[in-house]
Symmetry: C2
Subunit: 340 residues, 2 copies
């Protein structure tokens, strides 16, 4: 199963809003279709968003390859602007757009350059996640009970996954694991997607409400917490799905190691710390209605932050394709990025 693929001029994705009940593919023939899929979370997960953004540009490049270079660049720029407007926090998306655009701008054949760079981002993501999974799996021991949040599996990336990729890799190495998956309100990616992926792998998974995490840490022998990241600042402060910060505080209270798993592409060295990470607020309807039923009175306010920021001091290690980074993160992150 591939979360996202470029087939000819079509970008093909699994519509993740329909899981676990239905596995349906969306075939996008244009930028607007891809932008809509990103905005409505049919595709989500930081690395997958980077690939989706790159593929949007690749598609535009393919469709306009016969035009003069200036026109190609102008079409690419339109696509870039539309995709950049979809989700402000996800750094991979913005970095992927910049990488592809820079190559296109520098090249006498911008269409070809954009297409090649987009494919390279895709292949790098596959390889980074594979290596990240192997480094992370070394941290897991036979018998571990792992708590995770949101979805960071194959569905969140081009393949493999980040936090969930670590768990799956360790499981395939023969380590017996049990997983608690937070359901992850409001969009329930943990219940719908993470549990679904773990079931496919045969890994024992127990779904809990987000607010049960403290209880489960206290009473169910959780030995590790592993989450993904949407953006990591230069000092290790990490933006990830809302609720991650609460988990980090709870993990520390219970002396449970708390790991972030993310490819180096998630680290933004231009963002010095978590204070500088813009937090995306999503619409109230995600909380106000569920499957068509109103669950919040019309007159009440609703606050729906998509992310929170976990200060680096709560993070035991950051699992990347270059190994597991540990505090002080300013230093370990700088070295990892230099070695890339």
């Amino acid at each position: 199963m591939r979360t996202i693929e470029l087939k000819g001029e079509k970008v093909v994705m699994i519509d993740q809003t329909l899981l676990p009940e239905e596995v349906r593919l969306i075939e996008c023939a244009d930028t607007e279709c891809i932008a809509e899929a990103i905005e409505s979370l049919r595709i989500r997960g930081a690395p997958a968003l980077g690939v989706a953004a790159a593929f949007a540009l690749a598609q535009t490049a393919l469709k306009n390859a016969h035009k003069p270079a200036q026109e190609v660049l102008s079409e690419l720029e339109k696509t870039r602007r539309r995709i950049a407007a979809t989700r402000p926090t996800a750094v991979n998306l913005h970095l992927a757009l910049e990488r592809v655009m820079n190559r296109a701008r520098e090249s006498p054949s911008p269409a070809e350059a954009a297409y090649r760079e987009a494919l390279r981002i895709y292949e790098e993501d596959l390889e980074a996640n594979r290596r990240l999974g192997e480094h992370g799996a070394e941290l897991l021991e036979d018998g571990d009970v792992v708590l995770t949040h949101c979805n960071t599996g194959a569905l969140a990336t081009a393949s493999y996954g980040t936090a969930l990729g670590v768990i799956v890799t360790a499981w395939r190495q023969g380590k017996r694991l049990r997983v608690f998956a937070d359901e992850t309100r409001p969009l329930l990616q943990g219940a719908r997607l993470t549990a679904w992926e773990l079931v496919q792998e045969g890994i024992p998974v127990t779904v809990i409400t987000d607010s049960s995490a403290g209880y489960v840490m206290r009473t169910r022998g959780v030995t590790k917490v592993i989450v993904g990241a949407d953006r990591i600042a230069a000092n290790g402060d990490t933006a990830n799905k809302i609720g991650t910060y609460s988990l980090a505080v709870l993990a520390r209270e219970h002396r449970i190691p708390f790991y972030v798993a993310a490819p180096l592409s998630t680290i933004d060295p231009e963002t010095p710390d978590g204070e500088r990470i813009p937090v995306e607020y999503r619409g109230r309807e995600e909380i106000e209605f569920f499957n068509g039923r109103r669950i919040v009175p019309r007159e009440a306010e609703v606050l729906n932050p998509a992310f929170d920021v976990t200060p680096a001091r709560y993070i035991t290690g950051i699992i990347t394709e270059a190994g597991v980074l540990t505090p002080p993160y300013e230093e370990s992150i700088r070295r990892a990025l230099e070695g890339r």
Copy 2:
């Protein structure tokens, strides 16, 4: 609006599962109807459950008042057994059943004794909540930003409410407050009921997902956390809606005072500490489906604890009708119960 009333031989309740969309009354003519209403959470909230249990016995007493004492007692015993089987953690329910049964057993006219004692429980609940609200309101200051969990308002009691009663009392005294209400998965009592009650009062309320609580404490200037209780042990350890323990840990991390508001009837001096409080596990379908839609794959496990236990050391004070109890709780609780 009364959450529960005894009208003739009928027990009349608001069906809380339909709020906020619809205000519909259930009229129960027999024990089974009341038991079903308790089990399916049409009525919920520790104090309201005590009153519902008492009214179930009062109803049985009224219906059998013409029979000989032995038969009345035997009918009351049947009702007691059925109601006691509904919810194991809620201490008010069990204490109310015992109180009414003891009076009935001691009396030559068990029907009359049961009826009178049930009404007394109801009136005591009203009075206890009113006084509790006043004591608690003294802790709140103009400008406070209060975070609360689940529903502890008029809907959770015979009237007034506990944690929410404190907030409403302070508001009516003219203190300007803002409230963050956790939606409270899986049954969304915070989003559906607490927000609804606050809107009725005109108090500004913002609904958040449970996992946003840490973020909101960190970034939105929360000054107090107030929650209710389903059972309080002799040492102050407190069982309350799942997620309360996580909130208590987060509150301490942010140096925010964490208060429990509950009538003395919620304290069970026979339970020495939280380890001894039985935790109710509810069915997986509460998490597995939402409004008819499957959100967890069939093959995944689900863990659905209704409550968690917050150790007394996280609790700044316990607001009761006898005043605000503070650590050491063994002593303050003993004194409060002796003075009752």
